[in-house]
């Protein structure tokens, strides 16, 4: 190729005015020939363009993403099953408890005494707790020294 022709062609190329065929010819030309210093950048560029086209998608194409989703549903189903069975067995054990003797007293007199005893015990515990609050009266004593009640 004449040097001048090459110059105008490169000029056209830079302005985006070359046809596909011309561009292909340039690729071929720059790939196979030694070129003058001034075109060295184009040689690299065209070599790059040709080489870049050789990259391939090497992975297997997978069209079925559905099985994955099936398993996801299986997971949901399994967890529901686990929760359900847990609730079910829990219910069973509760029922068992109901059937057992819980110490219900049939005689009213005895029941009355027993209840009284229990309430007494609760009251004792409460008053025991209240003893600790006696300390608070100390505050009142000090307060009364300064603030006389009318």
């Amino acid at each position: 190729m004449e040097l001048n022709d090459l110059r105008t062609l490169v000029q056209k190329f830079e302005e985006g005015k070359t046809s596909l065929q011309e561009e292909r010819d340039m690729k071929k030309y720059f790939n196979s020939n030694e070129v003058p210093e001034e075109f060295i950048a184009y040689k690299s560029l065209f070599n790059f363009n040709v080489a870049s086209r050789n990259i391939e998608y090497s992975k297997e194409i997978q069209l079925n993403s559905k099985p994955k989703r099936k398993w996801a549903y299986a997971g949901v189903a399994a967890s529901i099953l686990i929760v359900m069975s847990f609730l079910f067995f829990n219910d069973l054990t509760n029922k068992k408890l109901d059937e057992q003797n819980l110490g219900t007293i049939e005689d009213p007199e005895q029941a009355y005494l027993k209840t009284k005893e229990t309430l007494q015990m609760v009251a004792d515990v409460f008053s025991e707790g209240r003893e600790d609050l006696e300390y608070l009266n100390e505050f009142n004593k000090t307060k009364n020294k300064f603030i006389k009640e009318q």
Binding site: F13, E14, E15, G16, K17, L20, E23, R24, I40, A41, Y42, S44, L45, N47, F48, N49, A51, S52, R53, I55, E56, Y57, K59, I61, Q62, L63, S65
Partner: protein, 169 residues
């Protein structure tokens, strides 16, 4: 459309889709994921796929949009922990090693171009699409495409000349 027909349609285009994804997303893993996702997207819409006159342009166009969306998502969600966030925008050393110095250098220069220029440069200078097809893929008018392409070509040449000169000095 069954499996085999679809794969036959995809086969001649899949490398081009991958190369475009690679051009935009830079990391090989992200590009592979993107290609796989786009193919799956097309497969799920396979009944509509028949209606497109230029199927290849349509496939490339879907790839382009998918990658641009990915880039936008990456940009918007710096806090999301997905592997794409860890791809820096440099080429991986692994890929650099596969390329010669000169190739790596041009790859880097192209990587600095604005996205639109990358896309059009990729489609025209590497994949050799004609302007009509590029217009269909990018939804741009032909003159706009020529201008963008011209800018990309000039920029690459300038940068190359710069580095060549540094080499001499």
């Amino acid at each position: 459309m069954n499996h085999h027909t679809f794969l036959r349609l995809i086969d001649p285009v899949k490398d081009k889709m991958f190369r475009l994804a690679l051009r935009l997303l830079i990391s090989k893993e992200a590009a592979e994921d993107a290609t796989q996702e786009v193919i799956l997207k097309l497969w799920n819409r396979k009944d509509k796929v028949k209606d497109y006159a230029n199927l290849e342009a349509f496939m490339i166009s879907v790839t382009k949009n998918h990658c641009l969306d990915q880039l936008k998502a990456r940009h918007n969600s710096n806090l999301r922990i997905i592997h794409t966030n860890y791809d820096n925008n440099e080429l991986s050393t692994h890929r650099l090693a596969e390329l010669s110095d000169e190739m790596a250098q041009i790859e880097r220069i192209v990587g600095m171009l604005p996205e639109q220029q990358k896309i059009i440069f990729q489609l025209r200078d590497i994949e050799e699409y004609d302007y009509g097809e590029i217009a269909e893929i990018t939804k741009l008018k032909e003159p706009a495409i020529r201008v963008t392409l011209s800018r990309a070509r000039k920029k690459i040449k300038e940068e190359l000349l710069k580095t060549h000169r540094y080499g001499i000095k």
